[in-house]
């Protein structure tokens, strides 16, 4: 399954979208290091026009959690 959020992660991490799912996290994706995390925050904020708090950024340890955080801000993907 691919959707906008998976595609955003695939773009920023430069990996194939089919290799990602909501369980993907920094331990399962080689490219997801601390610098990638920084790029992801910027991309998520730009793409979905949201502002993330530091607490939310620190919580985002999997794609599924990002989806939940975004849903909490009224962004459904």
């Amino acid at each position: 399954m691919t959707d906008r959020l998976i595609e955003l992660f695939a773009d920023e991490l430069m990996v194939d979208a089919t290799s990602l799912n909501d369980d993907s996290n920094p331990d399962t994706v080689e490219q997801w290091d601390s610098l990638a995390a920084m790029r992801l925050v910027a991309a998520i904020e730009e793409t979905f026009t949201v502002n993330l708090s530091t607490a939310e950024i620190m919580k985002m340890r999997s794609i599924g959690i990002v989806r939940t955080v975004l849903a909490g801000k009224g962004v459904s993907i």
Partner: protein
């Protein structure tokens, strides 16, 4: 250039250019997180017709090391090295003497780089440091750090300002222009990335323009059509009284366009004509029309005829003894533009816009075509060649990397942990991903149990230098019984990379093991997704390969006694820092 569009262009470019040889390699090294500039610099370079730029990044806060050994920092010697440092990153706030001392070391290192490196250097002027005081004090009693900043900027400008192959990027000007939008406090605290995307966008864009200006020669000649480009109407039909050029619209649009062409001429750009008219009609306008800005004497070469314009352009280039790619051609006719693009594709073509109000903006919109860095390579080449020879001769006497590290006054403290250290030890064990040979994670009670077991030792390492303390940054867990000691876990914070402190810890372990009567130190390297940094750690320290591990990884063995010693420039202290 916008944030999302630039990132997308760079990403698309990376996908489509995988495996293509780079046509320019750029190395970035900064005291703060600089990675976010890469897509913006990349997009700027791709927009400037670089086919395949390769942008590399040195490790975080390793500016001096980069200057002393760029090949080690980037893996290759780049064509261009860009350096950025902030005073608050290189020394503790509030200590202006330490600040200036730290800045002096960086300036010396930049000087060393300049002498040993053949490519171009772009050095960012450091941004004004954040004020530590606030309220009225901040405005009425500026801190000593501010003087240190002014002096450092002045020294950079004095020392490197007049050099060939050396350019500045004024980050403070970018920050001032963006105001509060330049900063992002969340990213500063989370990632040591003090600035917002908007800042990196601008920095990347200007870096790209500097690089373009030094690589591509500025255009040298502007070739102009006449009817409906320099004036409104057709001179052959409307006559000298009928063409539109002057103070009132539509003539004013043409007049402004001429004024800009004249400004280019005054800045050293040749002007030429390629126009399908009778010479007898055209010259009287230049000679006697009141509305004209350009005069016959401003035109270096005129091709007034009915031949294909591409042929005229080739002749103009030949007569001026410049390349065809140094020409910019402006015409209102899409047909003429297409003819030139087909038969003289090296020429840069600009179509005069149909909407007249856009004509005055045409040359301004393409101002980068004439971009010239204030000091060109040609200007200084002769001086530089002579200076270069002198510099090479004295290079042997210059600062080496060891000298630099010696100047730092590194102290490494190696000791067994107290109760109070265990929380930090456990945190390092569980958080360190890169400099971690075995990546064994232990909960605090497991660490307690490890230490309590017979023969086991846990080494803590703290580091300081003359600029300040790094705290507890390294842990080694050792099973120290019998004829061979075993390194169970060995890890270090990346904050102290590049200083030889890991060598100090390994040497301490080897020395202790030998003193206890052991004949070898055994270790394993277990690869993870993140720890490629230490794949050859043991090899570099004289361990020999003692076999592969079936599940991945290698066994290593150091025979004792060994020659493994701490670096001379490190002072080893066998106790916790006071």
């Amino acid at each position: 250039m916008d944030v999302v569009g630039a990132k997308k262009r760079w990403r698309d470019h990376l996908r489509s250019s995988a495996g293509v040889d780079a046509d320019i390699t750029i190395g970035l090294s900064a005291s703060f997180t600089i990675d976010p500039v890469i897509p913006f610099l990349g997009a700027a370079l791709v927009d400037e017709r670089y086919a395949s730029p390769d942008i590399r990044n040195a490790d975080y806060n390793q500016v001096v090391q980069t200057c002393l050994n760029p090949q080690a920092a980037f893996g290759v010697v780049p064509d261009i090295i860009a350096i950025a440092f902030r005073l608050e990153d290189i020394a503790p706030a509030g200590d202006p003497d330490a600040l200036e001392a730290a800045a002096a070391i960086i300036l010396d290192a930049i000087d060393r780089l300049r002498r040993s490196f053949d490519g171009a250097i772009i050095c960012a002027l450091p941004p004004r440091p954040d004020a530590v005081t606030f309220g009225l004090a901040r405005f009425a009693h500026p801190e000593p750090a501010l003087s240190a900043w002014h002096r450092t900027t002045a020294r950079l400008l004095e020392r490197f300002g007049a050099l060939d192959r050396f350019y500045f990027l004024d980050l403070d000007a970018i920050i001032a222009e963006l105001g509060t939008a330049a900063r992002d406090e969340r990213k500063r605290l989370l990632y040591r990335q003090p600035y917002a995307e908007a800042f990196y966008l601008k920095a990347g864009f200007f870096l790209g323009r500097i690089i373009r200006a030094r690589t591509f020669e500025a255009k040298k000649c502007l070739v102009l059509d006449c009817d409906n480009t320099l004036w409104g109407g057709v001179i052959g039909e409307d006559g000298i009284g009928g063409v539109q050029i002057g103070e009132d619209f539509p003539g004013s649009a043409f007049r402004e366009f001429q004024r800009q062409a004249k400004a280019l001429r005054d800045a050293g750009v040749f002007l030429a004509l390629s126009t399908k008219n009778n010479p007898g009609d055209v010259w009287p306008v230049f000679d006697s029309h009141d509305g004209m800005i350009l005069r016959r004497s401003d035109i270096s070469v005129a091709k007034i005829n009915w031949r294909p314009k591409s042929e005229n352009l080739k002749e103009i280039a030949a007569e001026l003894n410049i390349g065809l790619d140094a020409l910019v051609f402006v015409d209102d006719s899409p047909f003429e533009i297409a003819e030139v693009e087909t038969h003289a594709p090296q020429v840069t073509c600009l179509q005069a816009p149909k909407e007249l109000s856009e004509l005055p903006g045409l040359l301004r919109a393409h101002a980068h075509l004439w971009d010239r860095l204030v000091i060109t390579d040609d200007d200084r080449k002769r001086v530089e060649r002579m200076q270069g020879e002198l510099d090479r001769r004295s290079l042997a006497q210059q600062l080496t990397e060891e000298d630099f590290l010696a100047q730092l006054g590194l102290k490494v403290f190696i000791y067994q942990p107290d109760k109070a250290d265990l929380a930090r030890v456990t945190q390092l064990i569980n958080k360190t991903n890169q400099f971690n040979v075995a990546t064994k994670r232990y909960a605090q009670e497991e660490v307690d149990a490890f230490i309590a077991a017979r023969g086991n030792r846990l080494y803590c390492m703290s580091v300081s230098d003359k600029f300040g303390e790094y705290g507890l940054v390294g842990v080694a867990m050792i099973e120290g019984e019998g004829a061979a000691w075993k390194i169970d876990n060995f890890l270090m914070s990346c904050r102290v990379l590049g200083r030889g402190v890991e060598t100090t810890l390994l040497a301490k372990i080897a020395t202790d093991a030998a003193a206890a009567g052991a004949r070898a130190v055994n270790a394993v390297y277990l690869p993870t997704l993140k720890n490629g940094l230490v794949v050859d750690l043991f090899k570099r320290h004289g361990f020999s390969h003692a076999g592969d591990i079936d599940t991945g990884g290698d066994r290593w063995r150091l025979k004792l006694p060994s020659t493994l010693n701490k670096p001379d420039y490190v002072e080893l202290v066998d106790q916790r820092p006071a």
